[in-house]
Symmetry: C2
Subunit: 315 residues, 2 copies
């Protein structure tokens, strides 16, 4: 199954009543520092504080009524958990979220706040898949994967679609890459709505699986995991990788120091809160200014869900 | 001399090319928590990161050409210093800023960044007035006081004017109070443009001079100074006090813990950066919800110039 232009357009219309059309901000200071015309698509201001609601909502709304009413299940300790919990509440069904038992309280509370039921598991891949399997068998709920799902990718594509509608002649777009949902959606929107716009992704050096996968032409794990960009730790899926390997211009890696420096600029100059994963594309742009000099670049700030007590470690 | 409605209208037109029309944001979460319909006027997104550019620009533009070209002088370690430096650069004249020699490097650098000349003095009132006097005598520059100046008050009034133009039927407006420039300007805009809108001010318990001045019907110093709201440490001036005692509905004090709790909500839920002084009116609203239940309240976020390294102390 391929995702078509019409799929993205229809998904966008369907989810519009449930999401924010987030603002596109500019910053004279950041333009001056970089020598680039940057347009920031602020998904940190999105419902649940991240773009993930786009994919979650799209997937939930695509379920037929009889499936929908049995509830939605997923495993996630991050923004996808909140997205599914929120989306389920919007369509008045139940959300069953499998979370590792070492998840931060603040994230557990946020998911509970949307009325989801939480199932804790040991913090490893095997335990979480087993627990999810149990939940799905017990409840009959529909499983929605955080990124390796065409409905989810279709929904994530709507962020770049909005950005291209507002700023039509972008030379480049940039996103972070973790599992690849936002990146592959952005690639599809560029392909369909603005074929001359090239797409780069930013990736943390401490979770550098996507750049390796691209190089080796197969899905790879990161050589090591050590980064503050905690939304970008997962590997690509076969569905996201298929799109990424076909369309992405390149993947640029950044260190945690570069991520923090980008966050500092965003907090000090733009006065907005973006999470470490969310500034990775800006950090990649600033590190590779020469690629973008004088160009119009759309940068997606993917989310703003920061644990405030960690700010003291970073700044 | 009284400040007229026309003064404010003319000032607004004059400064418009130099300032941002800052956005008015809302937050479902904060409305739910408070039971109040809150409209946040985001002067943290203003040029130089604070409303002060409105008063500074108004004062500088009101100088005749021959005065203007001799330069502008002021004493300030805070946002007013940046405002004067920025305004002077905009009209292509010199700014002379007297700053205490213990000013944070980041603030000194910001003022230098706008091309101002800095004169350091001992960190006390006497030393700074003496140094300013010297600078003015030497240069012939025009002195612009941070708040006790009708031109400055007129400029600060334009923030509330914009807010009332966007949200016409506010029951209340709230500002912080330090020297009283923003508060007295807001009071005048309410008086002229929306007489049914009542204005409250929020003040830190650790710099509680305004509430005491109001009670004793004369300008008082704070009983003690101990607060993280470092933009609100000064006493009122005779010009700001005259307006405040006539029009203000009341002054509500808040503790530093309440200021931090309000900042936490703003960072976590609204994903924007506001400085401690800037959230004081929100903290006052949250502490006194019963006064505002079901009402439409305009809250001015006065600025967003935070020293990031202090975030770790607060959160």
């Amino acid at each position: 199954m391929e995702i078509t232009q019409l799929d993205i357009e229809e998904a966008h219309e369907r989810i519009k009543p449930f999401i924010h059309k987030t603002p596109v901000l500019t910053s004279k200071t950041l333009d001056t520092i970089s020598g680039v015309d940057i347009f920031f698509k602020c998904e940190n201001f999105q419902k649940i504080g991240a773009f993930k609601i786009r994919g979650g909502m799209t997937a939930v709304l695509s379920l037929p009524q009889d499936k929908r009413k049995k509830g939605i299940a997923t495993h996630s300790s991050g923004n996808h958990a909140q997205a599914i919990a929120y989306a389920a509440r919007e369509v008045e069904t139940k959300a069953y979220i499998v979370m590792p038992n070492n998840s931060p309280h603040v994230k557990v509370d946020a998911v509970k706040g949307y009325g989801a039921e939480i199932f804790f598991c040991e913090p490893n891949q095997q335990a979480r898949e087993k627990k999810l399997q149990e939940v799905v068998e017990k409840t009959g709920a529909a499983f929605i994967h955080p990124y390796n799902d065409h409905r989810v990718i279709t929904g994530q594509a709507t962020a770049a679609k909005e950005l291209l509608e507002e700023i039509p002649s972008l030379d480049f777009m940039m996103t972070p890459v973790g599992g690849g949902g936002l990146l592959s959606g952005t690639l599809l929107s560029a392909h369909y709505f603005s074929p001359s716009t090239l797409v780069y992704a930013g990736e943390p050096e401490g979770a550098a699986d996507a750049i390796l996968s691209l190089k080796n032409r197969r899905i790879e794990k990161a050589p090591f995991i050590n980064t503050i960009a905690d939304g970008l730790l997962t590997t690509l899926g076969d569905k996201t990788f298929a799109i990424i390997r076909e369309y992405v211009k390149d993947i640029l890696t950044v260190s945690d120091e570069e991520i923090i420096e980008a966050m500092r600029l965003v907090y000090e100059r733009m006065k907005i809160v973006v999470e470490p994963s969310g500034v990775v594309p800006l950090a990649a742009l600033l590190k590779n200014k020469h690629l973008f000099t004088g160009k119009k670049v759309g940068v997606i700030f993917s989310g703003g869900n920061v644990e405030l007590k960690r700010l003291g470690e970073w700044f």
